[in-house]
Amino acid sequence: MSLSDATIRHLQRTLDVPDAGERYEVLGEIGRGGMGTVYRAMDHQLGREVALKAIAFHADAGVTERLSREARVLAQLEHPGIVAVHDVGTLADGRPFYVMRLVRGTNLAQHAAGRGRGELLRRFLQVCDAVAFAHARGVIHRDLTPRNVMIGEFGEVLVVDWGVARVLGARGGAAEDGSAAEGGSAAAGEGARGLDLGIGHETSPVAAGRASGDALAAGTLRTGDGVIVGTPGYMPPEAAAGGARDVDERGDVFGLGAILRDLLAASGAPAPRPLAAIVARATALLPDDRYASAAALAADVRRWFDAEPVQAYRENALERAARFYGRNRPLILLLLAYAVVRVTILLWRGV
């Protein structure tokens, strides 16, 4: 039988649609990357739409393990700022999948355009809180970028795409590593964004390691020493140098600092020096020069919000006075008004 171009196009699309059994009916594709594809699906059992993530059917065993591991990581992280996993299973063709909440919204990069600094900083603090929660459970995201933060329809902030996360074991002990899947394929960059529906997009980790150009082109994630995991501009130098397994909480602090840098730039106005200093400390070249944790970074941003001195910036006397004025402006104005009235009365009596 001779097949037309239209038929082949149809078959190409059809054959890649997962068969997740009677419970989940795939409605459409949200995003696609090297690791797999995320679909919008109907959960007939509970009567709701969900996001279903499945690996590409031609993926190797390493990617299969990564998907399963990502589901396990997410299952450990029950937090309002981290997308929840509802179910895991196996497709009719043997591929593993997991089901998660379907978030309708935009990513932080899109959301930031034209927003005020105050709102963006509040969003940023929510991101920090989610990351700090993960850190408290020994999970390092390793690919924090504005595109991996979703803003839902109702303003909820969700950190997504934990596919290259690292689960720390006991300090100094073994760690379960997202890059540990031999020959695993990393997500392949652009064109894999869940722009409309939020969750389920693939991230764009460059996963090349000291690998060949072919491996880079194919988005292949090499393992062991020499791994590079992250997105240029957001990955810490220790990761860019090929030491993905050396990345700890401070690697995520670097990513958060880079996000903060972007948000401050997006707000349009020049960043106040204390905030610029916070960015500089968070994105310091050496991990020891950064904040020790996402919580510490968030605390410094909150200090700025509360007009308190931030740890990252040593202010001069004038700045200290200005900050004091800004923090106590009503009281100072009241005192000034009182002083003016007193002086006026004294002068009047003197006359």
Binding site: M1, S2, L3, S4, D5, A6, T7, I8, R9, H10, L11, Q12, T14, L15, D16, V17, D19, A56, F57, H58, A59, D60, A92, D93, A218
Partner: protein, 234 residues
């Protein structure tokens, strides 16, 4: 007889077998999958009439197998498909030169490459044609495998429903819906869903088996699978 006897059978490896019968079977399989893409390239690049292109394709495949060209394939240097295309281009260029010489010398030739002089195709065009026809050939061979499986397993109705919806329906101005198919084949609508799901899974299996057989390594297999389902035809 199925096109590929074993799930993990590799034609490319079999071409280098010491056993003549194995080599012959592999050669036959290569010819079946690549014949149409080869003809398409010959027609596009040298503007050959269909009959001429078929003759030249036959000559090329015969030469390739008789002279063990394909055994020289080195997997470290790229895809088997690319290697085959390179061999074809070299062979056809030589044939073209030969035909031109004969013509200049007043001799007769059964091939006419005249049109190629007026509208030579670029390498990129030739590659695109070869890729497109290769995808078509893989799907057609896989569909053939599905049909045989359905016939052998008493699933003719499943195959018919699949063809009506996913093959003929793709070309139709208006694809029939499940209810119409259920009525046409006198089965419940839920059964249409089941049949389609089964047939799609089976066809996917055949496609992957075909690709696996046509590739020499896991890496090449994955690349081909990605290319097949990641690049649209037409």
């Amino acid at each position: 007889m199925p096109l590929f006897p074993e799930t993990h059978y590799s034609i490319v490896s079999a071409l280098r077998s010491d056993d003549a019968a194995t080599r012959a079977r592999a050669a036959e399989a290569v010819a079946r999958v690549y014949r149409d893409p080869i003809i398409a390239v010959l027609r596009h690049r040298w503007q050959l009439e269909r009959a001429d292109a078929e003759d030249l394709a036959h000559d090329f495949l015969a030469h390739a197998f008789e002279r063990d060209w394909l055994q020289r394939y080195d997997r470290s240097k790229g895809r088997f498909r690319t290697f085959l295309r390179s061999c074809l281009m070299a062979f056809a260029s030589t044939a073209h030169e030969g035909a031109t010489r004969l013509k200049r010398g007043g001799g007769a030739t059964h091939l006419s490459f005249d049109a190629a002089l007026h509208a030579p195709a670029t390498d990129a065009e030739v590659e695109a044609v070869f890729e497109r026809e290769w995808v078509r050939s893989v799907f057609e061979r896989s569909l053939e495998g599905l049909k045989q499986e359905c016939e052998a397993g008493g699933r003719q109705l499943t195959y018919d429903v699949f063809v009506a919806y996913d093959i003929e329906g793709a070309d139709a101005a208006e694809r029939p819906n499940y209810a119409q198919l259920a009525s046409r084949f006198a089965i419940p609508a839920t059964q249409v869903t089941n049949y389609l799901n089964w047939a799609r899974r089976a066809l996917r299996r055949h496609v992957l088996d075909t690709l696996r057989a046509l590739t020499a390594s896991d890496e090449e297999f994955r690349d081909e699978a990605r290319a097949l389902l990641g690049v649209e035809v037409g």
